[in-house]
Subunit: 352 residues, 2 copies
């Protein structure tokens, strides 16, 4: 892993990395010596029944999860639980285009699916940590996709599941949205089919990518209420440049594209021959589905339709005007709602 730059211990530490062996991918490629970067909070108890797994979202790492969801007195309380946050493949901390040597890295990096992440995490969870049960799997956005994949793929292991602002099967509309993100990057001549020297060469594409995120990530009410000013930005342009673009411009474009491809194709139905109903019917976890009310691409209606197919599930929309990016934690009231629902979920008997 890099010692400096964005994907570093300096910016994201402390975290550990574990090699989980060669990972043969669903699409046919192989990640040789696949490494997962993770951070842990709290201690595993003697009964080994207090483990919580948190997979990460698009462009996010364990660091934002720690800042937004973990802490004493919170649902994810390190004094009560052993919390394991695993960075997804392509995140830049785990095996990714940006840290894989030639010829397997960069633009040559193979296609990865949500299922590949979950298989890799399963090796880590069972091999490295010897866990047989997870008290909870919880994640937002692509983390929700991984949460669903966990609950369907390993129903006997997952006692509780909390997919936040994400779906079990990606919708055509969400696929199209993500395609516009991809095109914002790949259309930049500086992208050079993935063979750029530095993210700086792709700055125009990354700025367009940031602007599309600004449209779809928040909501019309967010801007109407001037939440961007509340967050400390003097104008819309200031917000776009110094928040949205500042966030993405340091990231590796091939990493973002690896995650976007994976996001577009999230679908637990693949585990049941394409039958989403059958796949979700396998879930034994007590499940709490939490969309954001103002989410423009994982809207409540899409999450609700899936919730109906899960045997033992609650549906709790999180009231917020921050849209999908309420995940960033800028709306404390939204995070408080998530915390309350997670506490109730953890207090309830396990599913199955």
């Amino acid at each position: 892993m890099s010692e400096s730059g964005y994907y570093s211990q300096a910016l994201h530490g402390p975290y550990e990395t574990e090699e989980i062996g060669d990972l043969v991918l669903e699409e046919g490629g192989t990640l040789r010596g696949c490494r997962l970067a993770y951070a842990t909070y709290g201690r595993l108890n003697a009964a080994r029944d207090n483990a919580i797994l948190v997979p990460t979202w698009y462009s996010g790492t364990h660091k934002i999860i720690e800042q937004v969801l973990i802490g004493p007195g919170r649902a994810l309380d390190p004094e009560r639980y052993f919390i394991l946050v695993v960075n997804q493949i392509g995140s830049g901390l785990s095996t990714s285009p940006s840290n894989t040597p030639a010829p397997a890295g960069g633009a040559y990096f193979p296609k990865v699916r949500i299922g590949d992440d979950v298989v890799a995490q399963h090796r880590l969870v069972t091999g490295k940590f010897g866990l047989e049960r997870l008290a909870l799997v919880v994640g937002g956005s692509m983390g929700a996709q991984q949460t669903y994949e966990w609950a369907v793929r390993y129903p006997e292991m997952v006692q509780r599941a909390a997919p936040i602002a994400g779906t079990a099967r990606n919708t055509p509309h969400d696929f199209l949205f993500t395609e516009t993100l991809v095109e914002a990057i790949t259309s930049d001549p500086g992208f050079a089919k993935g063979f750029y020297a530095s993210p700086e060469d792709v700055r125009e594409g990354l700025l367009r990518h940031a602007r599309i995120w600004a449209v779809m990530g928040w909501s019309t009410e967010f801007y109407q209420r001037e939440r961007h000013r509340t967050l400390g930005f003097s104008s819309l342009d200031d917000f776009i440049l110094n928040f949205m673009f500042a966030y993405f411009r340091v990231m590796d474009p091939n990493n973002l594209l690896c995650m976007a491809w994976k996001w577009q194709r999230g679908d637990v139905g693949r585990l049941a021959g394409g039958d989403l109903r059958a796949a979700l019917g396998r879930i034994r976890a007590r499940t709490c589905v939490m969309p954001m009310t103002s989410d423009m691409f994982f809207p409540p209606s899409d999450c609700q339709a899936e919730w109906r197919l899960i045997p033992d599930a609650a549906f709790h929309p999180i009231e917020t005007v921050d849209g999908h990016l309420a995940l960033f934690g800028a709306d404390q009231a939204a995070i408080a709602q998530i915390d309350r629902h997670l506490k109730a979920l953890l207090a309830a008997p396990p599913g199955g």
Copy 2:
């Protein structure tokens, strides 16, 4: 006007053009010998009190208005009303970048505002047709922006107003969305700062522009219900290519950018020193505000907030999953709702 190509009588006829003189624009430019292209349906009665004005939306012309809204038995019935559909400046039929000779045309075309269109239309309506009253001004999207501008700028002339799927003051969120449309086009190296030889040179940008429209123009339910298949397209890709891209690829990029710039800055508050409440308070027209329930960039909440500021207005959201692009008329039930509300509006006494 061109005799062939997209902006032609062959594709859009029959229509007339009228020169309304030099138009000095709000931003300081001048359209010399400004021409408005329009189509009329029905006849002006002896009392001259049956005129309906319909301004057009982004990329649309009088032709789509005719197809979707006008006909015997409809609210806009040519047997009862004299219906005047005026193509907006930048539409490609009225004075536009694509039909203005050098050096004033193409990339050099001056910035135009919604108010400029309405002043130009006022000249046409009063000068060419000698009208003192309009029984109704009705328009969708940018047509709604012009409708609001008419009702605020000439309150004594507009007896009824029906802004559909549009706002009186554009929102920051909508501004940002439109900016992504602009960037999709201008980022294409083939755009060459506006000095392309043909729209074909900007095909990649126009395809990205079409794809962003596909995300924001319809809705997640539209795709979930596979409405794109219902409309005769075999897949998402087929729909994007043969409907969305087919629609935009023949249009002149500078024309689209002219309209987009105008759209972004629609704001009747300018007529009252920036005070939206004061501006909308001037409206004397009996008004019927009709957002589309699933509209992602002119959502009901934004339209409702403005509706509260209008003295004599009804608020009737149009139930549809077709989002903003329900304006295309593919959802017949949505158009039937609009028709019903317009009939009620026309049957009611005039405002003022």
